[in-house]
Symmetry: C2
Subunit: 201 residues, 2 copies
């Protein structure tokens, strides 16, 4: 069991690394197996198709983002609006360090896979969509907390969180296409301006 | 000459259609040749590599975007800030109609190619980057005209245009991953809130 879990995990980690560095269609099953040091038969034992692997990679990337960015940024040790600011600072620090190591800004793993695959694979599209929507939640909670504390006037917290995270995806794409992590810092500062007023009945 | 130009153009148009509907790495040279009804030898006469074709496709997509969206939206028949609003309405109408035909929101052709290829091909990354930067210009001009008319307080027009177009890319990615053109309408309404104040010396 232990060895089996380890093999599956090695395949996921190899795929995550290779796909994030390049793109989904550019990385083949054989290369993933070579990188993970597993046999191709073993791959298909764990993943009936490359798509199933992509879904597992998305799960792992989401866990990683929660551990390394979301949970650190939205920890309750500072006021709620400062947590949103810290989100962009954490994202910036992550991509600045990644670029120092690889020479490249690789963007958002969810935006990358969604942008490449949404018209081609409904399961991948739907999974990316649900991850992006889940990523709005910590912003929504921080906005609600800020309103409760009187730090922010009443806004539509769900709509504002959606606008902020859509903007975040655009920032990540811009940082990737310009290969410049500084844009995360520069553009992220404007995110809170996207407040959506409460819809009056 | 006429026939030669026509063949080259057929290859570009076939590639543009196939890549936009799916993705760059998912579409092969043979399929593009079949779709354009040209022989593979003829392809390599016009394009030494698939990358050279991608660059030509980006040029053609940029011309198309200027003709069909930018020039229509930013025409001077209405006040400058209304032109920015019309940009999102035009983008919305285009993708709503595309979805009615294909069942899919295919997103931004520049964001798609940039997101997929920026870590893999420096020429494609650089071309997408320059197209995105050029796309900020009509926004910048409209903002400048709005300030001159007294419709908008002084803002850093270049920085604001950059924030708006980065947000636009995020909106397009969101519309693609949720397969919902309504998001372009809903989120686009907030774009002008991204005004960047003039940096005081």
């Amino acid at each position: 069991m232990e060895a089996s879990h380890d093999t599956r995990q090695r395949i996921i980690s190899a795929a995550q690394e290779l796909i994030y560095a390049r793109s989904y269609n550019e990385v083949g099953v054989q290369e993933i197996c070579d990188h993970a040091n597993v046999k191709k038969g073993s791959f298909y034992h764990f993943f009936p198709s490359k798509r199933d692997l992509a879904l597992a990679v998305l799960d792992q990337s989401q866990m990683y983002m929660c551990d390394e960015i979301i949970n650190k940024a939205f920890h309750h040790d500072i006021p709620p609006l400062a947590r949103i600011e810290r989100f962009f600072n954490t994202l910036y620090a992550f991509h600045k360090q990644s670029k120092e190591i690889s020479g490249r800004v690789s963007g958002c793993p969810f935006g990358n896979l969604g942008g490449e695959m949404s018209t081609q694979d409904e399961d991948i599209r739907s999974k990316v969509d649900s991850i992006l929507k889940a990523s709005e939640k910590p912003f929504e909670k921080a906005l609600t907390a800020a309103i409760e504390r009187g730090d922010l006037q009443a806004v539509d917290t769900a709509a504002t969180a959606k606008a902020i995270f859509a903007y975040t995806e655009g920032i990540m794409l811009y940082a990737k296409t310009s290969n410049d992590p500084e844009l995360i810092h520069e553009l992220g500062k404007r995110a809170l301006q996207l407040a959506v007023p409460v819809n009056k009945q």
